[in-house]
Amino acid sequence: MIAEQYLPVLMLIGLALGLGGMFTLLAIMLGPKRPTDVKRMPFESGMPTEGSGFRRYHVRFYLVAMIFLIFDVEVIFLYPWAVQFRNLGLFGFGELMVFLAVLVLGLVYAWKKGALEWE
């Protein structure tokens, strides 16, 4: 079974959550709390805060995130190809090159349209 090999991963996650949770809990339980108005203010580089904490982001962040997502999905397909590289031979190599060529087309398009530039 594959699942049993992941027991150390689960133990590590449990340990990390337990340790972090324990310190937070200890700080809540043992730490003194003397809040004043100044202490309750959100800290912004020592300046008095201005406006809401929520601020609209420019749409170009979305464009970068979307392009990242698409090429992230592309890279995912390299993993199963890489583990079978020797068995697939030249045919498998050609398949992946076709796949990558179509996506490079997308990259060239995004590049030409200036989607990768920050202005």
Binding site: H58, Y62, I70, L88
Partner: protein, 177 residues
């Protein structure tokens, strides 16, 4: 083994319900990350480690980044009043949800659901060869045409994103950096 399944199933459900109940959209997104993690753990329990890795890399990583950007783009206020009003779309949505739930219960109670997993690739066979190896072998031999179509699909997504988002960038509205 079953204990872990129930643990992660309960955690995933708790995360999914929190997404619906929490008002702040950013906390909602974090609850969704928790649900994605639990789903990845369930995939590992089903001996499909490749799907689990993809779940973490793509869903918990890239798609959540996209969700957070959408939340920041929409300029949502977390203190917006939440009103439970019945409108026609909500009633239709409720009817569809109840319909899907009824169908799910029907399928799970049917005789076919009690036979258990069947097919060529049993858990033992996948475990022996390795989940990623099986996916790789099938993807590049039997399912090579769908695989190449994925690249077209991704190309469409690139062009769609550039066309839609670039229009707003080019119109030169400078809000905040």
């Amino acid at each position: 083994m079953e204990v872990f399944f129930y643990l992660f199933a309960v955690l995933a459900t708790v995360g999914a319900v929190s997404v619906l109940l929490i008002r702040s959209p950013v906390y909602c997104a974090l609850a969704l990350v928790g649900t994605f993690f639990c789903l990845a753990a369930i995939y590992v329990l089903l001996s499909s480690e490749f799907v689990a890795a993809v779940q973490l890399l793509v869903y918990a990583g890239a798609i959540m980044v996209l969700f957070l950007f959408v939340i920041m783009l929409l300029n949502l206020k977390s203190d917006q009043p939440f009103a439970l009003k019945f409108s026609i779309p909500k009633i239709i949505g409720l009817a569809v949800t109840v319909g899907i739930l009824a169908q799910l219960i029907g399928v799970l109670n049917s005789p076919a659901a009690k036979v258990g997993p069947s097919g060529e690739y049993t858990i033992e066979r996948v475990s022996a060869e390795g989940a990623t190896e099986v996916v790789g072998r099938l993807l590049f031999t039997e399912y090579v045409l769908p695989f190449e179509i994925i690249s077209i699909l991704l190309l469409v997504a690139v062009i769609g994103a550039v066309v839609l988002a670039k229009r707003y960038v080019a119109s030169g509205e400078e809000e905040s950096g």
